[in-house]
């Protein structure tokens, strides 16, 4: 196949996959049934990204397995309402067009599993987007590595990927035993799970943590928040929660019958310190509140609508909620979107904070309920960040001060 009898795009893809496979010690390529690629702007690297997709598209490349895409670089419905430099707009549109040419599914979200596009247990996939990789491995039990754009696009075009890393069962066992010390998970809210994830990501390298002591009842949104936070700071691609994750029905199964290589005890003080470390400033005047990283589900939209009902966002604050088309459509039918917009917040579809032209909007301090957003914003937007619960975010949005 690498010799080119299937077309130039397939040949390029095979070269990349074979080189990556050899470097990672894979002895063969395996079939993947689903891919997820990032096609947003990230202004620092936009030319490389466009040239890469253009190279594949003009060589006749087409995704032969279902390939979803991460959020786009513009609000797909309302980009005109927000300042967008014309060259930014042109590049963003070019990327949308390249996605169409390659035959991507235009879901434009980081949570395909909430859009009816999830893989199944044991399914071999190739994903970019670290939060989706963590979710797919840890909640669903699909076989995903943290892969880059070049690998995932090549996998989409060939339907193949090298057999290495977390595609192999023997590499999916836990390494570090995480013990919750004096903590009762039944009192955890969404924010606590996000902080726990961030704490683990900051304290682990490539290791797979096995979290012990989380009671059943953890929601999909909490698992989503935990996974996004665990993956954003470090290199964690998978975690197990004993009794919750499909490959960790028992502690023994999670560790594959082996002894843990290490133990990490987490107590209330550690989580409190981590919570404080996520913010770059402790309080003060804010310009914007950003929620929906990863994209909000309809449940989270409902919760926010309830919080914002009858309130008014300060005229000095811009409030953005980021979500996918499907969650917004449901939220609209349930009246949530109307309530949120009435309070003065914007509902942005198919994009996200760090992938939008927000750096041109001059925000100095933003507030968010997402550790991942808090981690990327200082670099991507150039703003200070205050991390808080959704209640704290709404209160600050109304007062203009956190």
């Amino acid at each position: 196949m690498a010799k080119g009898e299937c077309g130039e795009a397939v040949m390029f893809s095979m070269k990349i996959l074979v080189a990556v496979g050899e470097a990672c010690g894979a002895d063969r390529l395996v079939e993947v049934s689903r891919c997820h690629v990032m096609t947003s702007m990230a202004p620092d690297i936009q030319h490389a990204r466009i040239d890469l997709l253009e190279k594949f598209a003009s060589a006749g490349g087409k995704y032969i397995v279902p390939t979803t895409v991460d959020p786009a670089s513009l609000d797909l419905e309302h980009w005109r309402e927000f300042k967008t430099p014309s060259d930014y707009y042109r590049s963003a549109m070019k990327l949308l067009q390249l996605n169409r040419r390659l035959g991507a599914i235009p879901n434009y979200s980081c949570i395909p599993y909430e859009q009816g596009l999830a893989p199944s247990f044991g399914e071999m996939v190739s994903f970019t987007e670290s939060s989706y990789v963590a979710f797919a491995n840890s909640v669903i039990g699909a076989r995903a590595n943290r892969e880059s754009q070049g690998i995932a696009v090549s996998a989409g075009i060939t339907g193949k990927a090298p057999l290495y890393g977390l595609r192999l069962k023997e590499n999916r066992h836990g390494d570090v035993h995480v013990k919750l010390k004096g903590l009762d998970s039944s009192s955890f809210d969404d924010s606590d799970y996000a902080v726990l994830g961030y704490h683990l990501g900051a304290n682990l390298g490539h290791e797979i943590p096995v979290i012990d002591g989380i009671k059943p009842g953890i929601t999909i949104d909490q698992l989503k928040a935990l996974g996004a936070s665990v993956a954003c700071k470090g290199s964690v691609a998978m975690y197990h929660i004993v009794g919750i994750s499909p490959e960790a029905r028992s502690r023994q199964e999670a560790f594959g019958g082996e002894k843990p290589k290490d133990v990490l005890e987490v107590d209330a003080n550690a989580l409190k310190r981590t919570r404080e470390e996520i913010s770059t400033v402790s309080g003060g005047k804010i310009d914007a509140v950003l929620v929906g990283c990863p994209h909000y589900s309809v449940f989270q939209i409902g919760k926010l609508a309830h919080q914002l009902e009858g309130k008014k966002v300060s005229t000095n604050v811009k409030f953005f909620l980021y979500t996918c088309q499907e969650a917004k459509a449901l939220g609209e039918q349930m009246g949530y979107i109307k309530t949120i917009e009435k309070a003065g917040a914007h509902v942005s579809v198919g994009t996200c904070m760090t992938l939008s032209p927000m750096k041109y909007w001059g925000f100095k301090t933003i507030m968010t309920d997402s550790p991942k957003c808090a981690y990327t914003c200082p670099v991507d937007i150039g703003a200070n960040v205050i991390f808080g619960t959704i209640d704290q975010c709404v209160r600050a949005a109304v007062r203009g001060i956190a």
């Binding site: 390029f12 070269k15 990349i16 080189a19 990556v20 050899e22 470097a23 990672c24 990032m38 990230a42 620092d44 690297i45 030319h47 490389a48 990204r49 040239d51 890469l52 190279k55 970019t128 987007e129 670290s130 590595n145 943290r146 892969e147 880059s148 754009q149 070049g150 690998i151 090298p162 290495y164 890393g165 290199s235 670099v379």
Partner: protein, 174 residues
Amino acid sequence: MNEPRMKKVILKGHGVVEGKAEGRAIVAKHAFAFPHGVDPRTGIITDIRHELRGESIANRVFVYPYGRGSTTGDLWMLETARHGKCPAAIINLETDAITVAGSVLSFLIYGRRMPIIEKLNRDPLETIKTSDYVRVDGKTGVVEILKNDMTNRTNYGSSSRPLRLKSRETGLLT
């Protein structure tokens, strides 16, 4: 280049991405992330937490233990190659999928070779010094090090500028 008072050391490793390259070495003791770690337009390391902040990797043989950071690493390498500011070659203790993808893409898209060698028979972080001149063959895995014994640090290669070893000399690594 002239090679007076040079000692030659040859190491052998696993050639991951083929290509021949040579240049002055730049050696980092800590893992390196291309995303937000380097300015693609200049090749200068921008990661405020990295020991080599302010140094250029452009057209140098970049020696570091492991890659780390976001999955956009290959695109950062590619953008750096687009500006002609990528390393001449990469030597890792053990390389990773994203770095390999970045190197292969740089050649496919911009015709820029960036051979990668890993698992050398001696620790490259100890054996190679930032003042050395290094030749790399990504096909055979052979790394030829021309040790600079001179006390005055001469510059080599096209990207030469005065060598600063401040972080290593003071031991302030990260």
